[in-house]
Point group: none
Chain length 260, copies 2
């Protein structure tokens, strides 16, 4: 049932992403709209809303969208942020600047957790303001939660589409599950060909061959072995040898000894 569970989890994750609106308010540069569409599509998001863009559609946006022209083509263009947020149940807004009325600021990772949780109830939105001026206080007042991407205190000027990329990346991880640390992920393509590991006997056969070879070459003195072989065991043990690798290593050893 493992495969079926993974499929279900991916389907649910995609349903979550389908409920997220990415809203750009009063964007000045059409290139940023195109780059936003591309950033969204790489992470499986498709619902772009544009509030009073300075120029849209625009060939610069098309060029920067690369293969994400379908996201641009499906964009909803509206006059006010209220329209873009109609029907949503939760709204997070990216905000770099300090405000006099400061709500608790969320980190991206925590913000996407909230977005994913609320998406079970209906549409949610993530709002990004103008490149230079950000969101107005009135716009921010329409949003449930401000989100701030942690930046260097010396320079906090993220490009708009780069900020979208970071948030959409976190959204994808949150929606589809962040694969366990160290383990191969469910999100990544699995190779159909996984190399066969060497058996215990094959690995021991290699160590014996190595010992014989380096005694023959004079590198290992059996009367004074120091810790050479344990160190080699430690090295190759870390690598966890594959069957074919043992064959190559033994071929190399044989080529040295047989040719002497």
């Amino acid at each position: 049932m493992k495969a079926a569970e993974t499929v279900d989890s991916n389907m649910n994750g995609q349903l979550t992403l389908d409920r997220v609106r990415i809203v750009l308010s009063r964007t000045s540069h059409p290139g940023n709209i195109g780059a936003t569409a591309r950033a969204m599509k790489t992470m499986g998001l498709s619902r772009l809303w544009l509030v009073a863009p300075a120029s849209f559609p625009d060939p610069v946006a098309d060029a920067r969208a690369s293969g994400a022209g379908d996201v641009l083509a499906g964009a909803q263009v509206v006059a006010t942020l209220e329209e873009a947020l109609a029907g949503t149940v939760f709204v997070a807004a990216l905000s770099a600047r300090r405000r006099e009325l400061s709500l608790p600021r969320l980190q991206p990772r925590d913000a996407v957790s909230e977005l994913v949780a609320w998406s079970e109830k209906g549409d949610v939105a993530l709002v990004f303001g103008n490149e230079a001026s950000g969101l107005t206080n009135a716009e921010l007042g329409l949003c449930s939660r401000p989100v701030t991407i942690p930046t260097s205190p010396d320079y906090s000027s993220l490009n708009l589409a780069a900020a979208v990329q970071v948030l959409c990346y976190e959204l994808r991880l949150a929606a589809l599950g962040s694969p366990g640390r160290g383990a191969e992920s469910a999100v990544l393509p699995q190779g159909s060909h996984v190399p066969a590991p060497a058996t215990h006997d094959e690995v021991e056969g290699f160590y014996a061959h190595l010992e014989t070879a380096i005694i023959a070459s004079g590198f290992l003195d059996p009367e004074n072995p120091r810790r050479l072989l344990p160190r080699m065991r430690r090295l190759f043990g870390r690598a966890r040898l594959e069957k074919e690798e043992v064959a190559i290593l033994r071929g190399i050893l044989a080529s040295f000894i047989d040719n002497k």
Copy 2:
């Protein structure tokens, strides 16, 4: 003492970020170089290396760098990836494509944990390939670990600078700690004595020695190398060689060849 601890933690975090080289190999579009500089600076990174860029310096790069012109001005331009990696102790490489010789692929979050842990030993690098073709197999062979940003199966074409932004964002969180989340886990074995890792140059010296030796022994036919050396790179790359291990391995090779 809380404030002092926070200052220390931030200072240490910045020291970590100062040890990270961001390496762009054979970048086609100068705009992506500028956008990379901006992405780096927002996250407190400053060490940019450019391997054979198609055009640099370039006014398009300057424009896209916005306030990060200092990162561009300090960029090191070199002819080969080997030069950019000289002296590093750990190299992660962004790789979207499948490879016949597949190492375990790291998620960004796990990759930055490793980078941060290794930075205690020396410089580390994060390598990004050409926009269209990515990294060559030869380039990937120079890197310890491939990293893949999880993307939609329908469209995986992240913009280069957007990929840099995601990795630098994760690096900053890992180096300075993610507020509100548990501490990032260290990947390296903790202990009073941690063996010194071999530098990039030492490891490359071993590979060159190995190649010479197995050509001399007749095991490797330079006219028909098959995939012997890439396979050996993959094996020893997994193990991440220590300084003393390289010395032993080269001693073994010398004992075979010198005694012939």
